[in-house]
């Protein structure tokens, strides 16, 4: 009798212990809409790669925080020469890769030599081409020489494209990623999930989570069900049309933040009639931004008047350069020689914001006599037709690179804008390290492209995460691509 009773008590205690363990969970299941094709962030552009590995499995010399500021990463500190051409980094001691090999300056040199090599398949090689020499001073000190000053150098080496990889394992990172981060790669069930676990010997502060599983769910309705059924604990950027379900549910919280995605009506400036300034101005006047933001992003987008992120300190508000004015648009069209308007095509990539904005813009343009034919495309086709072959009139796309106004200085870029004045300003900006001067230059550049109405400037994409209400520490903003697990933890 007594024995039975104590067994009962013991099992009750065990039950209690189990439920306590459940209450203080240290695991997370994150829903992601796309499965990465491979897991090496230095050999592919897919955002899905960074979502899983950036700052979790792999780290760079610097790291970007959730406000877009540069923080020390594998480099604990650095000095910059007065001419802005020499960067000397001091590396953390005692850092190991997940396969147990040690990290030192040779790995850093190997990483950047690999990015800059002739047969490099790095998606952002151009960002690092200012590097002219890399010298290992000692195992914990490395020096970079640049051929020209680069105000974004410290930011760029903190991106997923420049994470430090090891000589021994770099070739296999696509399938078996080995980095220095707080989480080590454990398992990838293709088509289904990737599992990461906390790396015990991590050099820095231990994260609260011990295990993270990324579950790949492409369909919005399915993701909604997975969240409601508790199969996943959150997702970092969910479709705006699904958010109302979670806003009214106390078990969830919707986290709204910024991204670097300038969504624009990209215009082929090299092709008539878009080579005429008056035509582009007419289109700018024909656009009703708020209508597009409400219709395509459920009000979450932030209006922009130029190609610059509103949360950036260099931003100036140019949304009133060409206010919505149908009569003005018609007058400008007549002035340009199109009193009855014209017909054009609008090629749309397979993303919701583009397809929805396209419908609205077509109806807005119809009011001033511009008839748009909407053509839906897959990504691969869009990249070839529109981006590589420049075979398009208009398209809608979000440019998600941080601080990417420099694309307007490249006359070969797909929208074909060629303005020597702007190009000269961009060169000056790149060579300037003084903050106040940089800000002034950047604002002048924003103003020029706004006045030239190079593209139709629509809105900055918002990041809208849905998470379990008991989770804290997720990034609100997305200054770079990634779902950084470092600070995420459960609270009661």
């Amino acid at each position: 009798m007594r024995v039975t009773k104590s067994i009962a008590l013991a099992s009750a205690g065990l039950l209690l212990a189990t439920s306590l363990a459940f209450a203080q969970s240290t695991e997370i299941r994150v829903g992601a809409p796309l499965e990465p094709p491979a897991l090496d962030p230095t050999a592919g552009a897919a955002e899905a790669i960074d979502v899983v590995v950036y700052q979790n499995v792999f780290e760079g010399l610097t790291r970007i925080d959730q406000d877009g500021a540069v923080q020390p990463g594998l480099a604990s500190e650095w000095t910059i020469s007065d001419d802005g051409l020499t960067y000397r980094f001091t590396l953390h001691n005692g850092v190991t890769f997940h396969d147990g090999t040690s990290f030192d300056a040779e790995d850093v040199k190997f990483t950047f030599d690999r990015i800059l090599a002739d047969d490099s398949v790095n998606a952002q090689k151009a960002l690092y081409e200012a590097i002219s020499a890399i010298t290992v001073i000692d195992p914990l000190t490395i020096e970079f020489k640049l051929s020209r000053p680069d105000g974004l150098f410290l930011f760029n080496i903190g991106r997923g494209d420049a994470v430090i990889v090891a000589t021994e394992s770099a070739a296999n990172n696509g399938t078996d990623p080995i980095g220095t981060g707080p989480f080590a790669f454990v398992q990838w069930d293709r088509g289904s999930r990737v599992i990461l676990e906390q790396y015990g010997p991590y050099w820095g502060e231990k994260p609260a989570l011990t295990k993270a599983t990324y579950v790949f769910i492409g369909d919005t309705t399915t993701m909604t069900n997975a969240l409601l059924a508790g199969d996943i604990d959150g997702t970092y950027n969910f479709a705006a049309e699904a958010l109302p379900i979670f806003q009214s549910n106390p078990q969830f919280k919707v986290v709204v933040g910024t991204t670097e995605g300038e969504t624009i009506l990209s215009t082929n400036n090299a092709r008539p009639p878009f080579d005429k300034l008056a035509v582009r101005q007419a289109m700018a006047h024909a656009i009703d931004r708020q209508e597009i933001i409400d219709g395509a992003t459920y009000g979450y987008g932030v209006p922009i008047g130029s190609h610059f992120a509103p949360h950036n300190p260099y931003y100036i508000d140019l949304t009133n350069t060409y206010p919505h004015d149908i009569e003005k648009a018609k007058a400008l069209l007549a002035e340009a020689g199109y009193p009855d308007g014209f017909s054009a095509t609008l090629k749309l990539p397979p993303v919701n914001y583009a397809r929805a904005s396209g419908q609205i813009i077509a109806s807005e343009f119809a009011k001033v006599g511009i008839k748009l034919e909407l053509i839906n495309m897959e990504w691969a086709q869009w990249l070839e037709d529109v981006f590589a072959n420049k075979d398009f009139d208009l398209t809608i796309i979000s440019h998600v690179e941080p601080f990417d106004i420099g694309i307007y200085a490249n006359p070969d870029y797909y929208f074909g804008y060629n303005n020597p004045e702007f190009q000269a300003l961009n060169e000056t900006l790149n060579a300037t390290t003084d903050e106040a001067k940089r800000k002034e230059l950047a604002q002048e550049m924003q103003t020029i492209i706004a006045k030239d109405a190079v593209n139709g400037y629509l809105f900055e994409l918002a990041q809208t995460g849905v998470w379990n209400a008991k989770l804290e520490g997720m990034w609100q903003n997305a200054p770079v691509e990634g779902v950084v697990l470092r600070d995420i933890h459960w609270v009661e």
Partner: protein, 322 residues
């Protein structure tokens, strides 16, 4: 001439047809994929890649060889059992497909099993009570079942059993070697979603076939010998009605194994349909064409087996001379 029995000839003709089908399919698949717009290297590297990086990747992926050479290499490789290496995932296509089959094959088989267990008895029941209220009710339900898309049905199942009741997972798949019970639980809702519309079709076909058979002379003869209608149908009718049902089953198997794309997306299952869908989006040409030809092989082989099974069920096919 060789001394061939009609049955051997029948088999030989079917096997020849099988091989020709595969060859034609291979040519069509290769040509279509080659004409598809979109550069896989550009897709992988995105819009900020330098032209040199894209060129380096194209070289690595072997995209610059002439089409006829790539087609020849592909066919020769397949004859040796080598289906190539996926361009985006860098793994052998055969391994990728084998891993996905561990989901799609059981899913298909469960769905077939459920659709037969539900569809055939209902079809027989409806035929037995032809013209009676039960028949009408069953056929209205079956009509609705045919009309309902399986993904929508899948969502309803998820809402009820996963979101509201929380009896079963809303989707996802636990690998068999990790927890087989969890794997099975994960397949319950998707196989039901796939099976019930199929069961509705089977029930209708079974009923129609039985009704057709019931007016045949041999049933009347059997009844004249003193059997009740039920006995006559059970002993002679059902077997003769199986022929059209067999055809539908073969088609359904082919449909299920190739047509699980949507259901696999609804239940985020790592199956074959999802693999092919993703590969098309990422322009992984090697993976798409090899996976597609494997599907063609499976479907053609199923049809071959069905054709040969006809020969067994229906002796007339064996005896008819070529």
């Amino acid at each position: 001439m060789w001394d061939l029995t009609p049955m051997t000839l029948y088999i030989l003709r079917r096997v020849f047809g099988f091989i020709v089908t595969i060859l034609i399919a291979a040519i069509v698949i290769f040509a279509l994929l080659d004409l598809l717009p979109g550069d896989p290297a550009r897709f992988i590297l995105g819009i900020n890649a330098t032209p040199e990086s894209v060129a380096a990747l194209r070289l690595q992926m072997g995209l610059d060889d002439p089409a006829i050479l790539r087609f020849g290499n592909w066919l020769l490789g397949m004859l040796r059992g080598d289906f190539g290496v996926s361009q985006t995932q860098k793994l052998p296509v055969a391994d990728l497909i084998a891993a996905r089959m561990a989901v799609t094959l059981p899913l298909t088989l469960f769905a077939m099993l459920v659709s037969m267990l539900v569809g055939l008895p209902l079809g027989i029941l409806a035929a037995m009570y032809r013209g009676k209220p039960l028949d009408t009710v069953l056929m209205v339900i079956a009509q609705a079942g045919v009309a309902v898309p399986n993904f929508w049905f899948g969502m309803l199942l998820t809402l009820l059993f996963a979101v509201t009741l929380r009896w079963l997972p809303p989707g996802g798949f636990t690998p068999w070697d990790e927890d087989a019970a969890a794997s099975l639980r994960g397949l319950v809702l998707p196989s039901l979603a796939l099976a019930l519309p199929q069961a509705a079709i089977l029930a209708r076909v079974m009923r129609t076939a039985l009704v057709d058979v019931s007016t045949q002379d041999f049933i009347r003869t059997a009844r004249a010998k003193g059997m009740t209608f039920g006995e006559a149908m059970w002993r002679h009718g059902v077997r003769n009605a199986l022929l059209p049902v067999l055809t539908i089953l073969g088609l359904q198997f082919a449909f299920l194994i190739a047509g699980t794309i949507i259901v696999e997306n609804v239940f985020y299952l790592p199956g074959l349909g999802k693999l092919i869908y993703t590969a098309i989006m990422e322009r992984d040409l090697v993976l798409v064409r090899s996976a597609t030809i494997i599907l063609v092989l499976v479907v053609s082989f199923t049809m071959l087996v069905v054709d040969l099974a006809y020969g067994l069920v229906d002796p007339r096919l064996r005896q008819r001379s070529a």
